[in-house]
C-alpha cells in the first residue's frame, strides 16, 4: 500500500526540497506544493524507474558528504599547486585500473563522480562488466596507494550506504 502510494520516497523528498530551493522561499506553502509535486511526479513516472535503490545507513551519507567536501577543498589546492608550479610535461600522469567490490549501478556512479571531484584523479571509463573503473591520475608516484585510498576512503562507505 505504502509502496504504491510513494514508489520512490527519496525522489519525493528530493523533488520537494528542489522545489523549495528553486522558489528561494522556505515556507510551509511552498513545502506543501513541493510535497504534492513530489507525490504526483514519481507516481506518474514510476513505470520508467524500475529500480529502487535503497539507503541502508543514512547517517553514513552525512559522514560521506563531509569527507567528500573536505577532499574537494584539499584537491583544489593540490591541483592549483601542480598547475602553477610544475611544468605540464613533467607531471607523472598515468592511468590506473581500480577493481570494484560495489555491484549496484547507483553506488558505482556515485563512486565515479567522487573520484572525479577529489585529489588528482578523473574517472575515464568503466569496464564492460562493471568490475573495474579506469581512473586517470594527474600526478602519482605510487598507484597502489591511490587505489588503496579510493577503496578505503570512499568505496567502503558507499558499500555500507547502498549494499
Amino acid at each position: 500500500m505504502l509502496t504504491r502510494l510513494v514508489p520512490h520516497p527519496l525522489l519525493t523528498l528530493l523533488i520537494a526540497v528542489v522545489w523549495v530551493l528553486l522558489n528561494n522561499d522556505v515556507s510551509i506553502a511552498q513545502a506543501v506544493i513541493g510535497l504534492v509535486l513530489g507525490l504526483l511526479i514519481p507516481k506518474a513516472t514510476s513505470a520508467y524507474w524500475p529500480g529502487r535503490p535503497r539507503m541502508r545507513a543514512p547517517l553514513v551519507v552525512i559522514e560521506y558528504l563531509l569527507i567528500v567536501l573536505w577532499d574537494i577543498v584539499v584537491s583544489n589546492v593540490q591541483v592549483a599547486y601542480l598547475i602553477l608550479f610544475r611544468r605540464g610535461d613533467r607531471l607523472r600522469t598515468r592511468y590506473i585500473s581500480v577493481p570494484l567490490v560495489l555491484t549496484t549501478p547507483e553506488a558505482i556512479t556515485v563512486l565515479a563522480g567522487t573520484i572525479t571531484m577529489t585529489p588528482g584523479t578523473v574517472t575515464a571509463d568503466v569496464s564492460a562488466d562493471g568490475c573495474a573503473l579506469l581512473v586517470h591520475c594527474l600526478e602519482t608516484d605510487d598507484p597502489e596507494a591511490t587505489i588503496a585510498r579510493i577503496k578505503t576512503r570512499y568505496e567502503q562507505r558507499l558499500k555500507r550506504i547502498f549494499e
Binding site: G88, Y95, G113, T116, M117, V126, S127, L134
Partner: protein, 120 residues
C-alpha cells in the same frame, strides 16, 4: 555594510576568482587532453563554490534574508561536472589510438566499456 562582513565577502570572491583563474590556466597550459581535464573539473569547482558562499553571505548579512538558490547551483554543479568530464574522456579514448594503447587492463574477462564491442 559592517566592515567585517565586507572583508569576509570580498576575500571569498577573491579566493573564488583565483581558483577559477587557475582552472582556466590549467586548461590552457597542460600538454594533453587528459591532463587538461583536471583543471576545469576541480579548480573551478572550489572557485564557483567560494563565489556562491560569498553570494549567500551577501544576501544574509546585507539583504537581511536567506538565499538558498546557491545551494541548488552547487548540487547541480557537483552532479554535472563529473558526467561531462567522463564523456569527454570516453570520446578521447575512442578517438585516439595512442591513448588506447596506454590503457591498463581491466583485470576481468572483458575490456573497457567504451571499446568492448560486446559490452553493455
Amino acid at each position: 555594510m559592517p566592515f567585517l562582513s565586507e572583508v569576509l565577502i570580498a576575500s571569498l570572491i577573491l579566493i573564488g576568482a583565483f581558483f577559477l583563474f587557475v582552472g582556466s590556466l590549467g586548461l590552457a597550459k597542460l600538454p594533453d587532453l587528459m591532463r587538461r581535464l583536471h583543471g576545469p573539473t576541480k579548480a573551478t569547482t572550489l572557485g564557483i563554490g567560494s563565489m556562491l558562499v560569498a553570494s549567500m553571505l551577501y544576501f544574509l548579512l546585507v539583504g537581511g534574508h536567506f538565499s538558498v538558490h546557491e545551494l541548488l547551483i552547487t548540487i547541480f554543479l557537483f552532479l554535472t561536472a563529473p558526467v561531462s568530464a567522463h564523456m569527454i574522456a570516453k570520446a578521447h579514448i575512442l578517438r585516439s589510438r595512442r591513448e588506447r594503447s596506454a590503457l591498463p587492463v581491466t583485470g576481468g574477462k572483458v575490456g573497457w566499456a567504451t571499446l568492448d564491442e560486446n559490452g553493455s
